[in-house]
Amino acid sequence: MQTDKDLFDLMKEAYPLNPREDFVSVTSDQLRRAARKLERNRNMKRLSFAAASIAICAMAISWLLFYGGEDLIASKFKMLEEGKMSSSINKAEPSVYIYQSHNLESFLPETQVNDPSEAFHQTKNITLVGQRLSESLKKRGIQSIHDQTDIAAILKEKGLPFSKAYAVARESLLAALKSHPSVKMILDIHRDSKKRSDTTININGKDYPRIEIIVSRSSDHYEENYKFAKRLHDQLEAKYPGLSRGVTVKDDGPNHYNQDVLGRSLLLQIGGVENTLKEEYRTADALAEVLGDILKEEEAK
């Protein structure tokens, strides 16, 4: 008992230093079983996770295939690609396409200039009126595509004359029609250059910029366009007397104002250079209301 080793030897003798043999084998089996069970549980978890992923994928695919999610995705991508299109993103398909061939057309009160020939602005321009029309339609449950292509910038970049604006606008228009066959109405929004007295009317104490509806006679869809223009005029007259300045038929027009693309294509001059954006929005809302009526009447038929 002198050295540490003696002491340890004594300790070793004092205890049964080997477990029973059957204990060793039983424990080994038990551990293997527990390990298998653990592994099984883990695999089950993995499996259920995989199954859940597959189910979600299947749901997404069926949504794409059967519920028209495809178009939503396509339009989303288009938006990302061009960064200019704010198309409707609801379930319903867009029925109206709104664009501005002369997208920089602006208003004297907004640009702080006096010369109507200089009333152009990079941001405060007619595009906002088209945007307002699109939003106003949406509030009425009508989906539209509002094209915000900066046509002036494209013209400048390609060194094209101003008269080519319609040709440039046509590209986005054709692309949109291809991906949205549901579109049945095309509106090109402009503003006039006439004096305020010619482009403004007071209805119930509020100034409304007036709308001139322009149809190109040379386009293939002239008759359908004209008929539609007349109908729009009549319905505007009924609700907002004097708001419409009537239908103007132009014998020609650069590119037929793109009115050959689809029946019911119109060029609308909303107000003039001396109107304010606030007024313009008022007319845009009124126009949306009447357009909404027309579309709903058709749906009911």
Partner: protein
């Protein structure tokens, strides 16, 4: 799915390699074969569950011993006062084939050693068993008990001193009684 028997193989390998070490530590710590066997099982079940969670174990030997020590201390706390004379001791006696006198003397010494060990405080007990029975190095012992090597050295000497004192005292008493 691809590593189906991985866990089973791993735990089996670890068990085969370390069960004796773990059992020996526990039997000395608890003083009972039955308890030591139960605790050994618990240690390896704990190892198994941690194996599937822990990906990197730096030193498997010290890791296993530290689990064994935790299990032992937990058990010690549970039955602090009832581990002096366990049934494993009597079973062991029954299987020895020695002359009654010799046997009595032998077993009395064993009993004294066990009692002395059981009286050591758990930390000292762990140090003595790890160093003396499991033959762990000072560094390994420090890792297992999560203290410095210096503390292991000091505690080891103090524990042995205490153990010797107790044994000497008890032996004298036994001799005195015998005479």
């Amino acid at each position: 799915m691809f590593d189906k028997d991985h866990l089973e193989e791993r735990i089996d390998e670890i068990y085969k390699r370390y069960y004796l070490d773990v059992y020996r530590f526990l039997v000395c710590f608890s003083g009972s074969q039955n308890d030591a066997e139960d605790l050994t099982q618990e240690v390896f079940i704990r190892i198994l569950h941690n194996l599937s969670n822990i990906h990197h174990i730096s030193n498997i030997k010290t890791w296993i011993f530290s689990i064994a020590k935790h299990v032992a201390v937990d058990h010690y706390r549970k039955k602090r006062f009832s581990s002096l004379f366990a049934d494993g001791f009597f079973r062991q006696m029954a299987s020895t084939e020695k002359e009654p006198n010799e046997f009595m003397e032998q077993s009395e010494t064993k009993q004294l050693v066990r009692a002395a060990i059981a009286k050591l405080k758990p930390h000292y007990r762990a140090v003595v068993i790890l160093r003396g029975i499991n033959e762990c190095s000072i560094k390994e012992t420090a890792e297992i008990l999560q203290c410095s090597e210096a503390k292991v050295k000091v505690d080891y000497h103090r524990a042995l001193k205490e153990l010797r004192k107790k044994l000497k005292m008890d032996m004298k008493e036994v001799m005195g009684n015998a005479n």
